[in-house]
Each structure stands twice: as C-alpha cells, then as structure tokens.
C-alpha cells in the first residue's frame, strides 16, 4: 500500500474514532471496568457497551482478521496506523478476550470453513466468552501427559476428566479443550475440541488464591457429549494446535496482561513513602534497585516495540514469544516486590479502612504476581523452549 493511501486511511480512521469513541472510553482502564463480553456480558456503563458494539461492528476488535468472518480485514500497516490512532486518544481496548488472544488465531489457521463461520464472528463482537481447558491435576508443565478421556461414540464424542487452573471457567460460555483420544501415543494422542459450558456434565468450582481472589477454576467433565463437528483440526492432531495457541498466549501475556499495579507508580510511591534526601531516595540501596528495574523495564518495552516493527516489516517473531513471556513475568514480579518494599508495612495491609486503597490493591497484585512465572508455561518451561527451539540445544539422551 502506498504512503498516500495509508495517510488517507489514517485521516478516515481518526475521523471515525473522533465520532465514535465515547469520551469516557478515553480514560485509563481500571480492572473493574474491563469488558470480557459473552452471553452474560457485564458493562461498567453504557459507553463501554456502545464502544464494544461500534468497534465490533467494524471488526476492529480483531483488526487483521479476515472481513469474511467479521474481522477488520486490515493489512499489518493499516493495523499499525489504527493502533497509533487509538493510542493517540488513549482509547481503552473495547474487549479483553481469550477468544481474541488465543482461540481465534488458531481457529483461523486450523479450523474448517464452517467452524470459522460459526465461532469467529461472535468472538469479534464479544458475544461469546471462551475459556482454556489445558492444565490438569496431573498435567502442568508436562502438559502433553494430559488424561481427560475423549471417546468416539459414533455420532458424538464422550468426554470424562478434570481440568484445573481454567481462567474464568465459571464466567465463560464455551471452552476450547485438550483431550486424549489415543492412550498409546503421548503427543500424538491429543485432540483439540470445543464445547458449550452449558452442556450437561460440565461443572466449575472457583479456586481461592493466596491473593484472596479466585480467577481460576477446577472444571469437572462427566460424560460430556460433544458433537463431532466440534473437533478442530484432525483427530490426534491437537498437540500442534495446542503449541501454536501457547505461542499466542505467551505473546498476549507479555504485551498486554501484566502491568496492573493498583494505580500506584513505583517511583512516586517510593518518593512519598521512603522520602528524598538531597533530591535522592533516602534508601540508597532501594534507589539503585529501582533504577536497575526501571531500566530493565524500558529495555523490555523497547524490545516489544522492536519486535512489533519487525513483524510489520514481515518478519516472523513467534520464536520470541517464550522469551517475552519469561521476561515479562520476571519484570512484573520485580516491580511488585519493589512496590511493596517501598511502601513498607503500609504495603502489606490485607483489608479495611486503615490502609490506602491503592496500597491494598498493591498487596493483592504482589501476591497474584507470583503466578506470573507459573501460568501460561512456567519460566523454567519457557527457558527450555528458548534453549531448544531458538538456540537449537539438544535434548538429553
């Protein structure tokens, strides 16, 4: 596309956003205001509903997906312009969605035409909320040892087993799920199926974490009947799809999901709580560790931008997903450790009026962040992936 056409796209986009992005959607997004969509979608206000409706209609919740399935149909260059324009007005993302980040991309790659027609448009419009049935009690880092049984019963599959750490399973409409269809082959006996969470035999139970919150569930599957057209890809061909999806997951985790800090800026919090002496943080050891962290954080942001620029220029950056996930998890944990340390005992309050609400959120975020290096592939697994797939180091004999 020529530069002048691209500039034309920019001015159209700018005008459309000016007319359609409600002013209330141009303010920082707090956690409570995130829109996840779905059958029982919750909107913090009417503007948020309108913003999702308008962006979804245009396919701009999934700007580069084909317009045949409701996506925006934009080229990478056009999408870059759209993202710049959204950033220019500080527009909130209209939708957070595992469908957008994880399932949609693999469905576009591996799904049948009928499956894409059936599920992609509702992801784009935020009408279906998806959850991820991957981990099991006996299959964490060794995901491919998963044992949830899926039997061929002629006109349908019958699924029995248990999933765990299913993010927001209790709020999701559909699940994409890894199941065992062959017990004689490890990786080659896994299939990728999807089903409605209202199907009889699907039961979810939230798990309370050390942070006091319950973003994860146990999911019990008992004689769940799944229509055969809900198998994605070929039978026993699920592992390849599973790995592709993990790549998308790791990318989205590292570029989007981390970073909540309870509204507190680390440097400002440290300045106020620890105090300055001669213009420098009174705790010189903390000061140098904060400086080292801030520089590492900047280096990471620059790396994400460099990778995005390379992707726009047509380069493949999939190999960086594990590296990014590893680095992002570590940075978020460091940031929250430094934040809590900077707040002293004020950063360790649990609840009640005796604490600043932002500091209370920091406590919960700090505890929640311990999971960052476990979920979506542990840091150790991600280092394994970097060593093997990027550096080409051999497996042990």
């Amino acid at each position: 596309m020529s530069a002048s056409t691209l500039e034309g796209f920019r001015s159209e986009t700018r005008a459309w956003l000016e007319a359609n992005c409600p002013p209330a959607m141009r303010t920082p997004l707090s956690e409570k205001e995130v829109v996840w969509g779905g059958r029982n979608a919750q909107f913090p206000n009417e503007d948020a509903r309108l913003w999702l409706e308008r962006m979804g209609e245009r396919g701009w919740t999934a700007p580069t997906w084909p317009s045949a399935y409701g996506g925006g149909g934009l080229s990478p260059a056009e999408n870059a312009v759209l993202q710049e324009e959204l950033k220019r007005i500080d527009a909130r993302p209209p939708l957070w969605s595992f469908g957008l980040w994880m399932f949609g991309p693999v469905l576009l790659e591996f799904g049948s035409e009928a499956q894409k027609q059936a599920w992609i448009p509702d992801i784009v419009r935020g009408r279906t909320r998806w959850c991820q049935g991957y981990s099991e009690p006996g299959a964490g880092s060794d995901l491919a040892s998963l044992a949830t049984r899926c039997e061929d019963r002629g006109d349908h599959f019958l699924v029995n087993g248990q999933k765990i750490w299913t993010s927001y399973a209790d709020k999701a409409d559909w699940m994409f799920c890894l199941v065992r269809t062959d017990t004689t082959a490890k990786h080659g006996g896994i299939s990728f199926i999807v089903f409605d969470m209202r199907t009889p035999g699907v039961e979810t139970r939230p798990i309370k974490l050390i942070s006091g919150e319950s973003p994860f569930c146990e999911t019990f599957l008992t004689d769940v009947r799944v229509p055969k057209e809900q198998l994605v890809g070929r039978l026993n061909g699920g592992w390849e799809i599973a790995k592709r999806l993990l790549t998308h997951e790791r990318q989205s985790i590292s570029t989007a999901a981390f970073g909540g800090g309870g509204g507190l800026d680390l440097v400002e919090a440290a300045k106020q709580s620890v105090g300055l002496m001669c213009g420098q943080l009174a705790d010189s050891d903390l000061r140098s560790r904060i400086a080292a962290f801030r520089m590492q954080e900047r280096a990471f942001q620059l790396t994400v931008r460099r990778a995005q620029a390379e992707a726009r220029a047509g380069g493949n950056i999939d190999h960086l997903a594990s590296l990014f996930k590893y680095a992002a998890a570590s940075l978020n944990q460091q940031r929250l450790e430094l934040l809590v340390e900077s707040l002293g005992l004020g950063g360790l309050g649990w609840e009640g009026d005796g604490f600043d609400p932002d500091a209370l959120r920091a406590t919960r975020h700090w505890l929640r962040s311990k999971g960052n290096s476990i979920e979506g592939g542990t840091s150790e697994i991600n280092l394994n992936v970097v060593a093997k797939r990027v550096l080409g180091l051999p497996d042990p004999i």
């Binding site: 620059l302 150790e380 990027v390 004999i397």
Partner: protein, 395 residues
Amino acid sequence: MTRPLTEDQRLLQDSARDFFSERAPVKALRAERDAGRPFDPELWREIAELGFAGAAVPEQSGGSGMGWRSIGLVLEAAGRTLVASPLTQTGLVGVAAIRTLGSEAQRERLLPLLAAGTATTALAFDEGAHHAPTGIAMRAVRDGDGWRLDGHKRFVPDGATASHILVAALAAPTPGAAESLALFVVDATASGVARRPLAMADSRGMADIELTGVRVADDMRLSGRTDLGSTMTDAGAAGLERVLDIARIGLAAEMLGAADALFTLTLAYLKDRRQFGQPIGSFQALQHRAARMLVDLELTRSCVTAALDALDDAEGGDKAAAAAAAQIPALASLAKARAGDTLHLVSNEAVQLHGGIGMTDAFDAGLYLKRARVLETLYGSAGWHRDRSARLEGY
C-alpha cells in the same frame, strides 16, 4: 523510534562484518598484542578506505553521510572480533566532538581528515580511574590570541597513538566570564605534551597525558554550539555531554557485537563438547543459562538500536528532532548500562562454560573478558549510569 535497517545500512552491515571477520579476526588482535603494537596501521588505512571511518561524517565533509545508526553497525561488527583500531575514538568520538561542538569552519577543516583516516583523535576527558564529569581540573587560560593548557589526563583511549588529543578543560570563554567545560584540539606532538603509554589488560593503546603550558590556537577550541540543553550542572558543558552520550552509545554497540559473538562461540561449544556421553548443552542447568543470556542480548540490542536511532532523529531543527534529543541522555545511559551488564555476564559465562580451555591464553574468551571490563568502565560503569538514570527521573 525503532525502525528496520535501510537497504544501504544492510549492505554496510554485511560488508563490515565480512571485512572484519576476514581481515581482522581475533587472532589479528593476538598478533598485534604479541608484537607489542596497539594496532595495525595498514588495517586502519583499509578501514578508512572502505568508508567506515567516515560513516557518520556528512557527505560535504568527505564522509558517506549515513548517520549514527550506521557507524553503530560498523562498531558492532568491529566489536565482534575485538578489532584494535582507531575507529571508535576517531570515527565515532572524534567525529561526534567536531560535528557537535565545532564551528562550520572547524567542521570543514577537520572532518575530512578524520573520514580519510589521515588524522586520528583521542578524547582526553577523565582525570582519574573513574568516570567523573564533575571532576575536571584541567585549565585553559587565555594566552595572547590563543590558549595555554595545564593539567593531566588519565587513561586516555588511543592516547599513545592519536595524532590529535581532544582535551576537556575548564575555560572562561570571554575574559571575566565564568569558567565552563570546553574541548580543545591539541596536536599530540606539540611542545609541552607528555604521553606515558599504559599497558592495559586489553592490550590497547591507552595513555596518561600531561600538559604543561601547551599553546593552542583559538580556532582549535571547539565551541560552535551551546543550544543542546544539558543535564549536567555546568551549562557550558551541554555539547560535551552530547559528545559523551554519543561515545557511550557507540561503545554500547561495540559491546553488543562482542557479547553476541562470544555468546555464539559459547553456544557452539555447548553443542560440541561431550561429557557423560552427551553434548553438555543437553543439560538443563546449562540450557537455562544460555537462554538467559539470549534474553539479555535481545533486550540490549533493542536499547542500542533505540539509542542510535534517537541520535539520527535528533539531527535537524524541528519539533520531532527536539523530542528525540530530549531522550538521548536516558537512552545513552540505558544502552551503556545494559550492554555493560550483558557483556559482563556473557564474558564470565563464556569462561566458565568452556571450562579449563576458557582459562588458556590460546583461547579467545580471555581476550573478550579483558576487553569487556575496559569497555564497561569507560565513560561510566553500569552503576554510574543507573545513578544517572535515577537522577534524570528525579529520584
């Protein structure tokens, strides 16, 4: 802002890598060291002839006018094989000083000499073992229509061999005015210049330099620009701070090249060396160390690239240039600290992962290790730059 390389830059990168790996591999440095020479003059002539010395010199001054990102690519390629040459001090630091601080007449007169490699420069800034921009005691006082310089400089890179020394000194620009830092171009053979070569661990030509009543003509004082803004307390030092930042960013590029090449060497060894009946690179404890080094290298590359791009973006007088210029101090410190930390890690890990062979003089790891520490220390250690970053952010 980070952007992909242009076609010209890609060609330059390829030709620099090819040239240095063929003409100046690590064994060339070893040969110079064993012969007791800081560098090979014939190699320097070829470097200049290929246009590497003038990569950041504008075309009208005899260079290729390709900019800072380009000289960064050349320095990164040179860093890969630890090339010993005046390239960093002349093609980067000298060019930066004259472009940034020189008047138009000075630029026209001096830059062509540097691009052609016929003159070489050495920045004489620090006066002790640590980088200390506020610790300059060298004085320049008016002497007739010129200046008289007195003082001493320590650990001047290329100080023993450069044809011209760029001396940072406190000077009152006009009689009675407050003193501020200025840079003087001093002929290394001038009367009153005493150079004492230092045998450093990295086998390069550093020197201590003593100036005693050295006469310098007024047109050899670089004083063209005072509009650059400064985070140093001395407002007159604005341009000099930019020169130092360019030097830091260029050194970061050189360190990135060294770290990347040494990592590649180490990775090959992990795949090749067999113990307990298998390649040692199949052991998870070593795989994770290798993977962490790659993370560090990728982050460092982003910082170096962003800093070089900011230098190019800051050229010109528009608003975007001013915005890029404002980013330079933070990006320079980021790139220098990050590259220093990464090379520190990789150079230590390279020795350890190679085992006994890594401890031998015949193997290259030791040469990288020695060069690494000099580069890490020059123009501010990682710790110094972390402190500066905190100051820049107001804590």
